[in-house]
Amino acid sequence: MSATTAGEAPKGIYHLAGSLRKERRWALLTAYISLVIAAIIFMAPPFYMFITSLKGSGEIASQIGSPWLVRDPTLENYTAIIFNPLFQRFMFNSIVITLFVVALTMVISILAAFALARMRFFGSQVLATGVFLTYLVPDTLLFIPLYQIVGGLGLLNSIWGLILVYPTLTVPFCTWIMIGYFTSIPKELDEAALIDGASWSQMLLRIFIPVALPGIIAATIFAFTVSWAAFVYPTAFVTTPDQMPLTIGVVSQLVRADTFAWGQIMAGALVAALPPVVIYAFLMDYYIAGLTAGATKG
């Protein structure tokens, strides 16, 4: 006891605590340094896009001074982009495609995950693993056979063709996320609902969906991101500007003859990137929060 108050050197546990504090400091330092490096790597391209989008085409072409600085900021690229009817069309296409894809994905994956997680039937385990494996096949490999299928359906060069094929990217992973969430819901909860008189559909709508809301939001964000940012499929399946989503519209149509309108391309890309940022910002808390707390002991 006296060791702490008197002038003696601290011993035993106190010595250990000191070294623990030191270790903690080192861990924090390492963490901060790695995070700062990672942040710089990931933030540099958007920052460069932002800087470039504020420059006039003359300034971009001049190559004088540091390219990281703006000498003569202007919003002309943004006004040009936003009032460009073609860009408005791309935006509209992207929104329509994404809304349909997210809705379609969530309906399919929630129903599939509920069945795979809760209704024990022959082959459900194999199916669940199979669903995940399909996610591992890259879209760069799939677009050739899918081209045949979409072509056969007469949906080439149409946003409806895209709405049909995007779920091949989103459904497997979303189903996998939802299986995980549904599995984490205690079995007694459905048994209680069964005894309370719920049918399977009531159980899904009134118990599973509200309780698994964080998982559903996570899956929705994923489906949204994939659909909004898809590049390979629209490049392959869409040829005319009126059917293009933002991702390929901005890079293919804002090129006049051989000149790249870099300022406009950057402004367009930034505006296109805005919706996912807004959605992440608003739903992040939901994404992390767990609603299952209090269902059972603990």
Binding site: A192, L194, I195, D196, S199, A295, T296, K297
Partner: protein, 366 residues
């Protein structure tokens, strides 16, 4: 309200593992029956079969005279309380209790009346607007019971409802459950592994082991007249003491010879009962309270012998004395005022009016 009949019910899992091996049980209307046994004895499976959460492999279960084998849980008119409460986390206490009635399309006023009534019985009226996560374990358990009460079902099913509570709360809720049953009088099937819970709550206790029913009876009958060695050892805490012994016929009376030389005369009124075991190895069983200091036992059929205590456990109202005899740990109950010390020999007396003799082969109490 209704009676429950379980007839020759078998539950087999894949690989022909039988969890329940053909049990018969008749539960009367208003009765409180407790299924008790060690884990894996089939008690929970039996309850879940009554609930309809497990399919019956063969046999028949009837509730209120109707065979329910193929009736889904929601149409069996039962309510169940789970060990981990299973409250819906996104609903308030009120919504949790009202959920079953809402699904059954009860009018709003009737739901409100029933929920408020149940809340009053369980003393949870101030909690109705709260979410489950804002409740303590005991409060959650009350809500789970409230959810069962509002439905006014034919049968209440409880699956180890107190196992997640701390010791003090468990005793409190035990009384609560008994109080609620005395008020609502609904036929109740209650599963527990805790024999104290079984003894205190039950009108009749069903002791299960390895998928069969060992014995069914009122708590006192099970305690004083166990029919098998398993029941004798399972019911009662501390457990009954067992010693191997040999039943001998001598000079017109039976006596039990313990291998260490102690001879216990069998009371005359039991001679006829044990005659068949004469000349055979048996198991002699006696409860700790019938193994006590001689001054407490001043009547016939007492055998006094000296033992050397190893451990003394003062419990307050009594003192437990542990000693070893023929490789078995034996427990005796003595008065807390009697001096006892580990390693110091002391006389103990066995009250042979309460002896049990077990056939070691069949495990049956003779």
């Amino acid at each position: 309200m209704a009676e429950v009949s379980v007839r020759k019910v078998v539950k087999a899992y894949e690989g022909n593992v039988q969890a329940v091996k053909g049990i018969d049980l008749e539960i009367a209307d208003h009765e409180f029956v407790v299924l008790v046994g060690p884990s894996g004895c089939g008690k929970s499976t039996t309850l879940r079969m009554i609930a309809g959460l497990e399919e019956i492999t063969s046999g028949e279960i009837a509730i209120g005279g109707t065979v329910v084998n193929d009736i889904p849980p929601r149409d069996r008119d039962i309510a169940m309380v789970f060990q981990n409460y299973a409250l819906y986390p996104h609903m308030s206490v009120y919504e949790n209790m009202a959920f079953g009635l809402t699904l059954r399309k009860f009018p709003k006023a009737e739901i409100a009346k029933r929920v408020n009534n149940a809340a009053r019985i369980l003393d949870i009226e101030p909690l109705l607007e709260r979410k489950p996560k804002a409740l303590s374990g005991g409060q959650r358990q009350r809500v789970a019971m409230g959810r069962a009460i509002v439905r006014d079902p034919k049968v209440f099913l409880f699956d180890e409802p107190l196992s997640n509570l701390d010791a003090k709360l468990r005793v409190q809720m035990r009384t609560e459950i008994k109080k609620v049953h005395q008020k609502v009088r609904t036929t109740t099937v209650y599963v527990t592994h805790d024999q104290v819970e079984a003894m205190t709550l039950a009108d009749r206790v069903v002791v299960m082991n390895h998928g069969i029913i060992e014995q069914v009876g009122p708590p006192q009958e099970l305690y004083h007249h166990p029919r098998t060695r398993f029941v004798a050892g399972f019911i009662g805490s501390p457990a009954m003491n067992f010693f191997p012994a040999r039943m001998e016929n001598g000079s017109g009376a039976l006596r039990l010879n313990l291998p260490n030389g102690i001879v216990l005369p069998v009371p005359a009124d039991r001679t006829a009962r044990y005659q068949g075991a004469a000349g055979r190895e048996v198991l002699f069983g006696i409860r700790p309270e019938h193994l006590t200091e001689p001054k407490n036992l001043e009547r016939d059929n007492i055998a006094v012998f000296d033992v050397t205590p190893e451990v003394i456990e003062p419990m307050g109202m009594e003192t437990l004395v542990h000693f070893w005899m023929q490789g078995a740990e034996i427990c005796a109950r003595i008065d807390p005022t009697t001096p006892a010390e580990p390693g110091v020999p002391m006389p103990l007396a066995a009250d042979l009016n309460h002896m049990h003799v077990i056939d070691p082969e069949s495990g049956m109490v003779l």
